[in-house]
Amino acid sequence: MLDFLKQPIETFQEFLFLSGRAFRNIFRSPHYADDILLQMDIIGVGSLFIVTLIGFFSGVVMSLQMSRALATYGAQGKIGEIVSITLVRELGPVLTAVLVAGRNASGIASEIGSMRVTEQIDAMRALGTDPVQKLVTPRLIATAVVLPLLTIIADFIGLLGGGLIASTMMNISFDQYWNSAWRILEYNDLVQGLVKPFLFALVIALVGCYYGIHTSGGTQGVGRATTKAVVVASVWVFVITSLLDPLFVNLQ
């Protein structure tokens, strides 16, 4: 009766196996430091431009849209606080994660998927290399390091964007905006804003690698794997943030 659940549960089980191996391999040699650095370059530096751009514009847009509602209460001075809390706690981590999921979970899945369908993964195993150690673990470490950093940058640039609107269109001095923005932040907000990207990073890297490794069916299969990786990673980002929010709110 519950047969339709069989496939998703099997998939999830395989995913957990892969994740377990990937984590275990962090503490085993050989450590492919070169690959870790390369991935940090691809995932981190590569995403920098777009994360900055989107971060900036999300701050701008938030400021613009909030200004009208705030004006009805004459509370425009609060714009700094609102932009700050929203960005740091929620929008920064989630937007950045979804962007990186789109850009890099797809890249990871298609690269590893292409290797799979051209028998390069089997060749690696036949020639004495553990594909999880060589391909998955470096991407996991790289994304986990790089995504929180990208999120911080996105938050910062977003706040600047909001400040630009506040000072040019809302008659609020930049100093006032900036001061209120950082004063409102509490320890809890910062922890949330950094723990979330870390968890998102694990999901993005592992989902991308999972669908890459389990690609089958030639070039069409690579396309399917890439799509699934992006969709599943993005969905899990939202699921995790929804599950974590009540937790952090209650910890305040």
């Binding site: 390069q120 690696m124 195993r125």
Partner: protein, 282 residues
């Protein structure tokens, strides 16, 4: 337990993909220096046989022996050490397309699971890589990438990579598939040269009867570097008569339906087996 002189042995190996059997109670064995030519229709389990032999795929039942040891229960990590003694040429070459040719051929040497003292130095690795590429006459491609080479050249680099660790057993998966007759024969000549110079055992999966026919009836002449029919009057390098040491296996839907010499293959009354016996088919 009697001393096992075989290099590969399958004992009642079965492997299923869902409902369909990829390998069905398969049993065969091979001694060092022998060549096994595996023929069969697409989907008959030929590639699965190779993957099972080197442990890339585990059988559902039965046992696989490599160099006299039962490797069926071995973990992946334990298999790494064994795989140094087994060279494998994948269909389409299986080269790593983001590495240069030199890095590709050096890969098995750089990933050996040995201690630091036994590891080869950079210079020694380069020497072996050049030697291997010289063997397949592609020494000038060291710095190129696989995408810059033709299909036949990629296949030859695959052979160079498969033999760079000087393994006593080499597995060839469809080495001539998709190649024109001239290039295909070049590849077979290289495989014959490898067999005769280093007395390697080989399992070759192929769709061409001609490949098996050439392996059984031709040998490498070290005096003039040519591959010639073995009834020509010259010295070969210490192997048995290749007509005897080359065995043909025919597979049908995972089962072994024929095993024997070329002569027995040509005389077989089985119509399925007969389909594969047309010399000159490519």
């Amino acid at each position: 337990m009697p001393q096992d002189a075989t290099i590969v042995r399958f004992e009642d190996v079965s492997l299923h993909y869902g409902e369909t059997p990829a390998l069905d109670h398969l049993s065969f064995s091979m001694k060092p220096g022998e060549t096994s030519i595996v023929l069969g229709a697409a989907g008959s389990g030929k590639t699965m046989l190779l993957k099972c032999a080197v442990g890339l795929v585990k059988p559902d039942s039965g046992r696989v022996f490599l160099f006299g040891e039962d490797v069926t229960p071995w973990t992946e990590t334990q298999m790494f050490a064994m795989r140094e003694k087994v060279g494998i040429l994948f269909q389409e070459g299986g080269l790593f397309d983001s590495l240069t040719i030199a890095e590709n051929v050096a890969y098995p040497l750089e990933n050996r699971p040995v201690s630091a003292e036994e590891k080869l130095s950079e210079a020694e690795i380069m020497e072996r890589v050049s030697e291997s590429l010289r063997f397949v006459e592609l020494e000038h491609t060291l710095e190129k990438f696989p995408s810059e080479l033709s299909g036949g050249m990629r296949r030859r680099v695959g052979i160079a990579r498969a033999v760079v660790t000087r393994p006593p057993l080499v597995l060839y998966d469809s080495p001539t598939a998709g190649l024109d007759p001239i290039t295909a024969n070049t590849i077979i000549n290289l495989i014959i040269k490898e067999r005769d110079l280093r007395n390697t055992a080989a399992i070759m999966v192929t769709h061409r009867f001609l490949d098996g026919h050439l392996m059984a009836n031709f040998r490498y002449n070290p005096n003039n570097g040519n591959v010639e029919p073995h009834n020509v009057d010259h010295l070969a390098t210490g192997t048995e008569d290749t007509a005897v040491s080359t065995r043909f296996l025919v597979m049908n839907e995972g089962r072994l339906v024929f095993e024997g010499s070329e002569r027995e293959l040509l005389a077989s009354p089985d119509p399925y087996v007969q389909k594969f016996c047309k010399p000159g088919t490519s």
